[in-house]
C-alpha cells in the first residue's frame, strides 16, 4: 500500500492520543525545525516540496508564505490560521483529519507559525464539528503539557499560543478574508485584495490562512523533505491528496491517495462503483463549486492541472456523483439555494443574482419553467463569473450551473416542456 502520511497512523476505532502520534514520528518535525532550522529554512523546504493549498484554490503554500514580511521592520504580531471551516457541500476530508489526527494538524500549525514567525495561531473551526473540537482541545492540552506549544517550545526560544475559534455557521466564513473578519468579531464579509492577508490580515497584521489538509501535510514534509513529497504523487502536483466520493455509490468515503489518482479509480475501486440499479451520469469533482464532468472525463487524473484541462477544477478533491435517478435540475438547485443562502450579502450580483437563479430553478423543477429560463440561467452563469463579484463564492456557485446546463440541457428542456420534473 502506498504511503499515507496524513492518515496512515489513524486508528478510527480509538481516540487519538499523543503517545501514539509520537511513536509514529509525531512532533519530530517540530523538534527538527525549532532546534535546527531557521524560519526561512522551513519556508524553503515547503516551497521546494511544491505543496499546493488543499482548500480549493491550489495556491502554492511556500509561495504564499514568502509574502509575509520577515525583516527587522516586520510587525511583531503575526498570525497563522488553520482553516477548519469545511462547509463546501460534498466535502468531509478535514473533519476526518481533525477528529482522528488532531496532533498532526496542531504540529502543522506550529510549524507554519514558526515558518512565518507568528506568535499566535488559531484553528478556525465550524461549530458543527463538535467531536473535532473536543479532540483538538484535548490534543492541544497534551501538546502544551509536553511543551510543543506555549512558551519557549522545546527550549528553542520560540513561543506560540494556539487557540480554537469556534464559528457559528455561514459558508462564507471559510473564504480566507471573510474568515479574518469573522475572527475579529465582525460580520464575515470578505475583504478587498490587495492588501493581501500575508501583509495586512488579522488585526491588520501579516497573516497566513491555510486549509486543514494543507497544514497536516507540513510535518511530514519537514520530516522527510521535498523529494520524498514529490515521490508520493502520480503527477507533477506533489504529495498525496484526500479524495472522497459521495452519492449513490457502493462505499462512499474519503481516502488518502497519491495525487493524480484518476476519477475512475476513485469511483470504481475505492467507492465501489455505482450502487445497484443506478447509472453514472456525471460528477462534480471538488466540492459544490466546481464544474460537472461526465463519463468521458473519468480517466482524468485528479490533480490541479488535469482537472482544469478537462474543464473543471480539482477544488477540494471531494466528488459528488450524479446518478440517473436523480434530477440534475434539482441537484443544481440544491447547490444554488445553498450558495444564495450562504452569501454574505455584500456584493450585488451574488446577493441578488443567486436568489433569482434559485427561484428560476425552483420554478423549472416544479413545472413553472418558461421558455427563456435556460437562457436566463446561462446568462447569469456568465454574469456571475470571476471578477464580476467581490469574492469567489458566486463564481464558484455558478460553475455547476453552467456546466450542468451544458451537459444536461435536455433535462432542463424536458422540465419546461412537460411542466413537471420527470423524476417525481
Amino acid at each position: 500500500m502506498a504511503e499515507r502520511p496524513l492518515t496512515g497512523s489513524i486508528r478510527p476505532e480509538v481516540a487519538p492520543d499523543i503517545s501514539a502520534y509520537e511513536s509514529a514520528g509525531g512532533y519530530e518535525a517540530l523538534r527538527k525545525a525549532v532546534k535546527g532550522m531557521s524560519h526561512q529554512d522551513v519556508q524553503k523546504v515547503v516551497t521546494d516540496s511544491n505543496l499546493r493549498g488543499r482548500g480549493g484554490a491550489g495556491f502554492p503554500t511556500g509561495q504564499k508564505w514568502s509574502f509575509v514580511p520577515m525583516d527587522e521592520a516586520a510587525p511583531r504580531e503575526k498570525y497563522f490560521i488553520v482553516n477548519a471551516d469545511e462547509m463546501e457541500p460534498g466535502t468531509f476530508k478535514d473533519r476526518l483529519l481533525l477528529e482522528c489526527n488532531p496532533h498532526q494538524v496542531i504540529e502543522g500549525a506550529i510549524l507554519g507559525a514558526y515558518a512565518i514567525g507568528a506568535s499566535r495561531a488559531y484553528i478556525f473551526l465550524r461549530w458543527e464539528y463538535r467531536l473535532a473540537e473536543k479532540r483538538l482541545e484535548q490534543a492541544m492540552a497534551e501538546a502544551r503539557e509536553r511543551n510543543y506549544l506555549g512558551k519557549n517550545i522545546l527550549g528553542s526560544g520560540f513561543s506560540l499560543d494556539l487557540r480554537i475559534h469556534t464559528s457559528a455557521g455561514r459558508y462564507i466564513c471559510g473564504e480566507e478574508t471573510a474568515l479574518l473578519s469573522a475572527m475579529e468579531g465582525r460580520r464575515a464579509v470578505p475583504r478587498a485584495k490587495p492588501p493581501f492577508p500575508q501583509v495586512c490580515g488579522l488585526w491588520g497584521r501579516p497573516t497566513i490562512v491555510n486549509n486543514t489538509e494543507t497544514v497536516a501535510n507540513i510535518p511530514p514534509i519537514i520530516r522527510n523533505g521535498p523529494s520524498w513529497f514529490h515521490g508520493l504523487s502520480h503527477t507533477g502536483d506533489a504529495g498525496t491528496k484526500m479524495y472522497g466520493v459521495s452519492g449513490r455509490v457502493g462505499r462512499p468515503g474519503v481516502w488518502e491517495l497519491p495525487m493524480g489518482t484518476t476519477m475512475r479509480e476513485l469511483l470504481e475501486e475505492h467507492a465501489g462503483g455505482m450502487r445497484d440499479g443506478y447509472r453514472f451520469r456525471g460528477l462534480i469533482p471538488g466540492g459544490a463549486s466546481t464544474d460537472f464532468l461526465v463519463e468521458e472525463h473519468l480517466d482524468v487524473q485528479m490533480d490541479y492541472s488535469s482537472v482544469q484541462k478537462a474543464g473543471s477544477r480539482l477544488g477540494t478533491g471531494m466528488m459528488i456523483i450524479l446518478d440517473d435517478k436523480t434530477c440534475p435540475v434539482g441537484m443544481i438547485n440544491s447547490i444554488i439555494r445553498f450558495m444564495a443562502r450562504e452569501s454574505c450579502g455584500w456584493c450585488t450580483p451574488c446577493r441578488e443574482g443567486l436568489p433569482w437563479l434559485e427561484k428560476v430553478l425552483r420554478a423549472i423543477e416544479t413545472g413553472d419553467g418558461r421558455p427563456g429560463d435556460i437562457e436566463l440561467l446561462g446568462e447569469h452563469a456568465r454574469l456571475l463569473g470571476p471578477g464580476n463579484t467581490y469574492c469567489a463564492l458566486a463564481p464558484g456557485a455558478v460553475e455547476p450551473l453552467q456546466s450542468g446546463i451544458r451537459y444536461f440541457r435536455e433535462d432542463f428542456e424536458r422540465h419546461i416542456r412537460d411542466k413537471r420534473c420527470p423524476w417525481r
Binding site: E86, M87, D161, A168, G169, Y171, G185, V254, I320, F338
Partner: protein, 154 residues
C-alpha cells in the same frame, strides 16, 4: 440578568483577547448554551460587557445562522440540505420530518420540543443524509431512524 456561571464563561472568552469584540461569537454562544437563544435583553447586557453597542453586536449575531435571536424549542434539529444529502434523499426525509413534527423549516413544534432548521453541509456526505440534533450528529438517515431519534429527545 446573567448567572455567575455565564459571566465567568464570558469572561473566559474575553480573556487574553486583544480586542474584546473578538470574543463576541463565543460570548453569544455562552448565552445560547444556557438559555437556548439570545434575547434582546441578553444581547444588550453582553454588548455592554464587550464594549460594543447593541447594534454592533446584533449586526454580528444576526449574520450567523447558528446564533438564535428568537426563542427555539428545547432541541434544535439541523437538517443538512446540501448537495450530497440532497442526492441521497433529503427531500423525502424533509417531508417525513415535517409531517412528524407538524412544522416546516424554521418552525418550532407546538409542544416546544423541537425547532427545525436547515444547515450547511455537515461534512458527513459519505453517510448522507444527515442531521444534527443539538450537539449530536445523526447519519445514514432513514424514516425509521428518524422516528427513533425523535423519540430520544424529551
Amino acid at each position: 440578568m446573567l448567572t455567575d456561571d455565564e459571566r465567568l464563561a464570558i469572561e473566559r472568552e474575553v480573556e487574553d483577547c486583544a480586542h474584546k469584540r473578538e470574543a463576541c461569537v463565543g460570548a453569544l454562544r455562552v448565552i445560547q448554551r444556557s438559555r437556548g437563544w439570545v434575547s434582546d435583553d441578553h444581547l444588550r447586557v453582553l454588548a455592554d460587557m464587550l464594549d460594543m453597542t447593541p447594534e454592533e453586536l446584533d449586526s454580528v449575531a444576526t449574520f450567523y445562522p447558528l446564533i438564535f435571536r428568537r426563542p427555539v424549542g428545547r432541541h434544535v434539529i439541523l437538517v443538512c440540505d446540501s448537495a450530497s444529502c440532497w442526492v441521497m434523499g433529503y427531500e423525502d426525509l424533509l417531508r417525513h420530518l415535517q409531517s412528524r413534527l407538524g412544522v416546516g423549516l424554521g418552525g418550532t413544534t407546538s409542544d416546544g420540543r423541537f425547532t427545525f432548521l436547515p444547515v450547511a453541509c455537515l461534512g458527513a456526505c459519505d453517510h448522507a443524509p444527515s442531521m444534527m440534533v443539538d450537539d449530536e450528529l445523526h447519519m445514514d438517515l432513514t424514516k425509521e431512524k428518524i422516528n427513533d431519534i425523535l423519540q430520544r429527545y424529551a
